[in-house]
């Protein structure tokens, strides 16, 4: 069998079906990412503000938001007046790939 470089995923797909929970997890991440980024488009927000607005647990918002910070979609803004919570915003030069 001659392997076509750069297109090898299909070979593994034939023998290894993707588990349902993996695709479900991807759907969840894509949806949460979109929800968080849409909420931030309206203005800079803190983790508790996002959690309240989106009716999501605060720790879940924290985990997903910090992942988006790592992936380059979000950046850190100012800290609030009580020096407790940072505001987060859409990255100005944000690449919107992936």
């Amino acid at each position: 069998m001659e392997v076509e470089k750069g297109k090898t995923a299909k070979y593994l797909k034939e023998t290894r079906p993707v588990p349902k929970e993996v695709t479900e997890h991807l759907k969840y991440f894509t949806k949460t990412k979109k929800t968080l980024l849409n909420a931030l488009k309206e203005g800079d927000k803190t983790v508790p503000q996002l959690a309240e607005e989106l009716k999501l647990p605060k720790n879940e918002v924290m985990f997903q938001l910090m992942s988006l910070l790592k992936y380059g979609f979000v950046e850190t803004g100012e800290i609030d007046d009580n020096d407790e919570y940072f505001y987060y915003k859409i990255k100005s030069n944000g690449k919107s790939k992936s």
């Binding site: 983790v47 720790n59 924290m62 985990f63 992936y71 992936s98």
Partner: protein, 437 residues
């Protein structure tokens, strides 16, 4: 043996199991005097636990600044071969200076030689899962570079979480992603073996009354270590529960050490000092924060350790001789610690906005089962037994098999490196015995 005939045979002088600082130190010393060494490392990068730390005690040197040059030297050394994502399945002693190991190389789905570490696959991958190298604090992609200072700094595919969409392949400039890779087994012939299998951290879920995983702002010391590292998961030190910048942090020492009820009666040797180190670092990054350390005894026995402890006290870290019984959570995510004030002899309660569990050091089990026809003896705590601890500290129950680092018991970084050095010296002496026959 049909299977062995199909396996590729590799010849080395020494097989080093584990590529942390102790195994790395042994391998470097052996390679520098001309021996051919194979390091078999189960993780995707060498560097062990140390490469993931922020700073080291008592000098507050940057851990990465010490580890990365060493790791690069190992990776580039002409006498050292490194297998990452690999493990020995079986090691047989065929005779003096004759060991044979079956080594399993798991597929990485990336051509390590061709990958440039450009991270375009990471950007293209649509999947986000929990990042084990940030100890669960944030996500990572299914096509990923383990961490920024990993060695080798090349991508890997987390096949368990991959949706096989092929986006990474399409994004990869050198076409180095290869989903047709399969596991490989090698027959490794070596004259001696160094076991440097390291340690694992105590799992605080075994103490449910501390609320780890139930209360979001109770974290482990390794998670705090990541929060303090330059390659940290958050923009600064924050509570994972809600992103608040903490200003009143508690440390609970002896979590899973010196505790018969969790099956680990011994001292882990490093928790007092790393907690004191983290307290000092936190006072630097959060100048307004109060740090309280709940301890049973402070064991500051090493060179410069007691001065380091005194320095933390001078900086304002509060030390309370107290045994924490239970942690409960308030609605605002703060935590109530119920503890016995040992000096006053009374039970008290205190509120903190974040709690760090200073988890202990446990043995990495299983290496003894790999040895096929001889017994690698363990000590009563399941670390590798040192059969002649005073005269020959790297000697094990099998002649020609040596132990380095925390595989033999809890120890700090300087001691691990010393132990790695001892193992290389004793291995050399064993190898020279053959040469002089």
């Amino acid at each position: 043996m049909n299977m062995q005939e199909q396996m590729k045979t590799l010849d080395y002088d020494v097989l080093v199991v584990g590529g942390g600082i102790a195994g790395g130190e042994s391998a470097l010393n052996l390679a520098n005097i001309g021996y051919k060494v194979l390091i078999v490392e189960k993780e995707l990068s060498i560097g062990g636990k140390m490469i993931l730390l922020s700073k080291v005690f008592p000098t507050l040197d940057c851990a990465a600044c010490i580890t990365t040059p060493k790791v690069s030297e190992i990776a580039r050394h002409p006498n050292i071969t490194v297998f990452t994502g690999a493990e020995p399945l079986k090691i047989t002693k065929k005779g003096e200076h004759r060991f044979e190991a079956v080594v399993l190389q798991n597929p990485r789905y990336v051509d390590v030689e061709a990958c440039t570490g450009c991270q375009l696959c990471e950007e293209a991958c649509p999947v986000s899962v929990t990042d084990e190298f940030q100890f669960g604090l944030i996500g990572r992609k299914a096509a990923f570079i383990p961490f920024s200072i990993a060695s080798p700094r090349v991508a890997a595919i987390d096949i368990e979480n991959c949706i096989l969409c092929g986006a990474c392949e399409r994004a990869c400039p050198p076409d180095c992603i290869d989903f047709t890779q399969t596991e490989q087994k090698y027959l490794v012939k070596a004259k001696a073996v160094v076991t440097a299998t390291g340690f694992k951290l105590f799992d605080p879920l075994k103490i449910p009354r501390y609320g780890y995983d139930k209360f979001d702002n109770v974290i482990t010391s390794m998670q705090m270590e990541r929060e303090l590292a330059p390659t940290r998961p958050f923009n600064t030190v924050l509570r994972p529960g809600d992103g608040k910048m903490p200003d009143n942090i508690a440390y609970v020492l002896c979590t899973g050490s010196r505790d018969k009820s969790v099956g680990n009666p011994i001292c882990s040797q490093v928790c007092c000092m790393y907690s004191i180190k983290q307290a000092q670092l936190l006072m630097g990054s959060l100048p307004m924060a109060d740090i309280t350390i709940y301890y049973l005894h402070i064991r500051a026995f090493g060179k410069g350790f007691n001065e380091f402890y005194a320095q933390a006290q001078d900086m304002g870290v509060e030390f309370i001789k107290g045994k924490v019984g239970k942690i409960t959570e308030k609605d605002n995510g703060n935590l109530i610690l119920r503890y016995e004030d040992i000096e006053a002899g009374i039970v008290k309660e205190a509120e903190h906005d974040m709690v760090v569990l200073s988890v202990g050091v446990l043995p990495n089990r299983g290496i003894d089962e790999v040895f096929d026809n001889e017994t690698l003896k363990l000590d009563p705590f399941h670390f590798i037994n040192q059969s002649d601890i005073l005269a020959s500290p790297a000697k094990t129950s099998i002649d020609g098999v040596f132990v380095a680092g925390t595989a033999s018991g809890p120890m700090d970084i300087p001691d691990s490196i010393l132990s790695g050095g001892a193992a290389s010296a004793e291995t050399t002496s064993y190898l020279r015995r053959e040469e002089s026959i």
